[in-house]
Amino acid sequence: MAEPALTNVSEALTRPGSWQGVASDWASDQRAFKNVSWGKVMMWIFLLSDTFIFSCFLLSYMTVRMSTTAPWPNPSEVFALEIGGAKVPLILIAIMTFILISSSGTMAMAVNFGYRRDRVKTAALMLLTAAFGASFVGMQAFEWTKLIHEGVRPWGNPWGAYQFGSAFFMITGFHGTHVTIGVIFLVIMARKVWRGDLETERRGFFTSKKGSYELVEITGLYWHFVDLVWVFIFALFYLW
């Protein structure tokens, strides 16, 4: 594996230790973030940009929720399931959230085993993460179907504000797309790990960069981000 270690210690020690030092350390030779590879920096900046996208979506949702004069449907009734004759509010979404959060745990473990070069465990944990993600999307599809059967559409619904359906389908759909893309990447990455591509530094098809276990971590960054975003969607859409 290529060593990204580039900290030039002897030179760095000559720089002053003060706010000026902070600035000049950061601005110093070759790399702003020492020992951090190109791919990882790229992912962080992409996630920053994506954060702005989700923030705009959520702020827009809050705005239309305030601008509409029609009543907003009550989430604990709309998102309830009939189980054994009793209506259990938010049960499906609670399970979905639990699954997605758990998948962050398995992802973190996969990264850990990746750096220990444990091919089998890494690949298995990534596939488990992907399976969690896929079941999340599956349950979301189920929820969409249920709501559509009850008459919820992007342009209207039986209970009140049009914006309920529009914002719901748009935001959960956009997030679900993120999860789906994540699942696809997890599967591709797991296959690479399994085949040992990362050890032989075989080139990837997309970036044509040599493979390394850092790829697992970068995939993980994306996955954790998608989970984190879900927490906000969950709080703002289902609990408000």
């Binding site: 290529a2 060593e3 990204p4 580039l6 030039n8 002897s10 030179e11 000559t14 000049s24 950061w26 601005a27 110093s28 030779d29 070759q30 790399r31 702003a32 973030f33 951090v36 590879s37 190109w38 920096v41 790229m42 900046i45 992409f46 920053l48 940009s49 994506d50 702005f52 996208i53 923030s55 705009c56 979506f57 827009s60 705005t63 239309v64 601008s67 509409t68 004069t69 029609a70 992007p154 342009w155 504000a161 049009y162 914006q163 359906g165 529009s166 914002a167 748009m170 080139r203 997309f206 970036t207 044509s208 960069k209 040599k210």
Partner: protein
């Protein structure tokens, strides 16, 4: 790994970065069409941007013909006029200027100026161009769609943007939104490349504070674009749903053409917030690269270090940050809480401080300098003048009470054309005259260049200066014709004819430019590697035009900033960034040392 003596005596490894894995194209197609080389991508971006820019230019002639000679040209209908305005504005701002500065100049200059072999992710960089091309094609397709392109104004304000009765409400608006979405996705792929290359891909010795200001400008603008375009993306997606699915994100309940529409409860103001959260930073996305490039042009052609380099860098960064908290100054007329109005007026005026610092520094750089009035220098000076002009009227418009009567008049049109139309375009031209020798190995024709400059510069004033006056006497913006309006004097018509003639002459001058661009490719004087005697790295490449990988076997090592001009005691009036200080082994020796290890 080879170790070399460095600067003050520290010890550093050789410059090559471990992440670099250059993709070597083998076929003609992968070399020049589906190319992953940033230099080829830059040329592709530039040609596409200029081609669509010509469309926007032709549209401006048509609009001016209508305004100058209302009723004379029967093929320009009122609907057509709105479509021309919309396409002209959108193309100029996004598909021409943004694409040319970031995709064109950014791709060409960033890797060369920071001493990299290429962008960090060449494949994504290539996709970026093809998505941009697709976005342009979708935009062009909207011209031929049933109902024509959208005529909603470049701000695409709802509800009218998607309602029947607005030209292009059938298909034009849908294609416009799709095109914007594609543009943003494509831009993101390129933008991530530019940012990471600057942050992580520099050569040995290239600290951030040694980068030419061009790189600083493009870098900061790209960061801003990555944070501002999301707002437009989200807004475009929602409007697309409003139009195609019948959602009501931006649509209140309303009656249109006697019919109660099925919309209700949405917020048109929400669009304005999202649009301007993107739209104002967008102004600086085209202005900051221009600032950077102008600083370098002035420094090179005045043979003098840029005055206050650090201040210049910080000003760029501060302007970039502040421009995210001023967006609502475009919405004074929409109405807002007085305290908000106060806040946005204050932040708007504060931006004038770092901007003024930049202008002073440009002027101080010129002070007592050895000014060469080359074509790039003329354009740079033209920029400073027009930018100051547009900036001053911006101070007027930033104040709520002054803006209210002036908003939606020709005064605003004059203001933004000066500050973000003419000024950045002049820099685009200056930059092209300046770097053309590096890209092609040949000089552009000087006499044609000067002709182009003087006609464009004086012509731009002839067009836009009278517009300020027209705005002050109340001539509204976005009006197909004035008709019989009691408060507008007849003399306004004379001025309009004058402006139109000037616009046609300026347009003709751009044809001279295009002619020069193509002819110099074959007939231009051979340039050599460094025709302007400039210090920055792109002029120090072993080959001109630079070969694939830019630097031959070894990356250059940087020992100094990019502004060592007219240094007392130096043998020439410039010292290249990669020239070692006296007493330090020259690069050839370094190469030998590192090769020996």
């Amino acid at each position: 790994m080879g170790e070399v003596i460095f600067g003050s005596g520290g010890v550093v490894p050789a410059a090559e970065l471990p992440d670099v894995e250059l993709y070597h194209a083998k076929t003609w197609i992968t070399k020049y069409v589906f190319s992953q080389d940033a230099k080829v991508i830059a040329v592709q971006y530039s040609i596409t941007a200029m081609a669509i820019g010509v469309v926007a230019l032709v549209l401006s002639w048509l609009m001016r013909l209508q305004l100058g000679f209302p009723g004379t040209f029967s093929f320009i209908s009122a609907e057509g006029y709105y479509q021309f305005i919309t396409m002209h504005g959108m193309i100029m701002v996004i598909y021409l200027l943004t694409a040319l500065f970031l995709g064109g100049f950014g791709n060409y200059l960033i890797p060369l100026m920071v001493g990299a072999r290429d962008m960090v992710f060449p494949y994504a960089n290539m996709l970026s161009y093809w998505l941009y091309l697709l976005a342009v094609l979708v935009l062009v397709a909207s011209i031929f769609a049933p109902g024509g392109p959208t005529g909603a104004g470049w701000t695409l304000y709802p509800p009218q943007a998607i309602l029947g009765g607005t030209p292009g409400a059938e298909a034009g608006i849908i294609l416009m939104l799709l095109s914007l979405i594609l543009f943003i996705i494509g831009f993101t792929m390129g933008g991530l490349n530019y940012v990471v290359t600057v942050l992580q891909g520099r050569t040995r010795g290239m600290t951030l504070m040694r980068m030419p200001l061009t790189v600083w400008g493009i870098f900061t603008a790209t960061v801003m674009a990555l944070l501002a375009f999301p707002a437009l993306f989200v807004a475009a997606v929602m409007m697309l749903f409003d139009r195609t699915l019948g959602t009501s994100f931006f649509m209140p309940s309303l009656v249109s053409m006697g019919e109660h529409l099925k919309y209700g409860g949405g917020s048109p103001i929400l669009w304005q917030h999202l649009f301007w959260f993107f739209g104002h930073p967008e102004v600086y996305i085209v202005a900051l690269p221009a600032f950077g490039i102008v600083s370098d042009l002035i420094s090179v052609h005045a043979r003098k270090a840029i005055f206050g380099y650090r201040m210049m860098v910080w000003a760029i960064v501060i302007i970039g940050a502040l421009s995210f908290v001023v967006w609502a100054h475009h919405m004074y007329v929409s109405g807002m809480n007085l305290n908000f109005g106060f806040f946005f007026a204050v932040t708007t005026l504060i931006i004038a401080v770092p901007t003024a610092i930049k202008v002073y520094n440009w002027v101080l750089t010129l002070w007592h300098a050895d000014i060469h009035l080359t074509v790039p220098m003329l354009f740079a000076l033209g920029f400073v003048v027009t930018f100051v002009n547009g900036g001053l009227t911006g101070l007027f418009l930033g104040n709520v009470v002054v803006d209210l009567p002036l908003s939606a008049t020709m005064f605003v049109v004059a203001h933004f054309h000066m500050v973000m139309g003419v000024a950045p375009i002049l820099v685009v031209f200056g930059g092209i005259y300046h770097w053309y020798p590096k890209v092609t190995g040949r000089m552009m024709d000087d006499r044609l260049g000067k002709l182009h400059f003087w006609v464009t510069f004086l012509g731009a004033y002839a067009i836009f200066f009278p517009m300020h006056y027209l705005g002050l006497i109340g001539v509204p913006r976005r009006y197909y014709e004035l008709g019989e309006t009691a408060f507008i004097p007849k003399s306004a018509e004379t001025l309009n004819v004058f402006i139109t003639l000037a616009a046609l002459i300026v347009g003709a001058a751009q044809m001279v430019f295009l002619f020069n661009l193509v002819r110099s490719l074959f007939n231009g004087r051979l340039a050599g590697g460094n025709p302007w005697n400039a210090t920055s790295l792109e002029w120090q490449t072993p080959e001109t035009p630079p070969a694939h990988g830019n630097w031959g076997k070894e990356l250059p090592v940087v020992y100094r900033w990019a502004y060592d001009y007219s240094v007392p005691g130096a043998e020439r009036d410039f010292i290249p960034q990669n020239q070692p200080p006296a007493g330090v082994a020259a690069q050839a020796t370094i190469t030998a040392v590192s090769a020996a290890h």
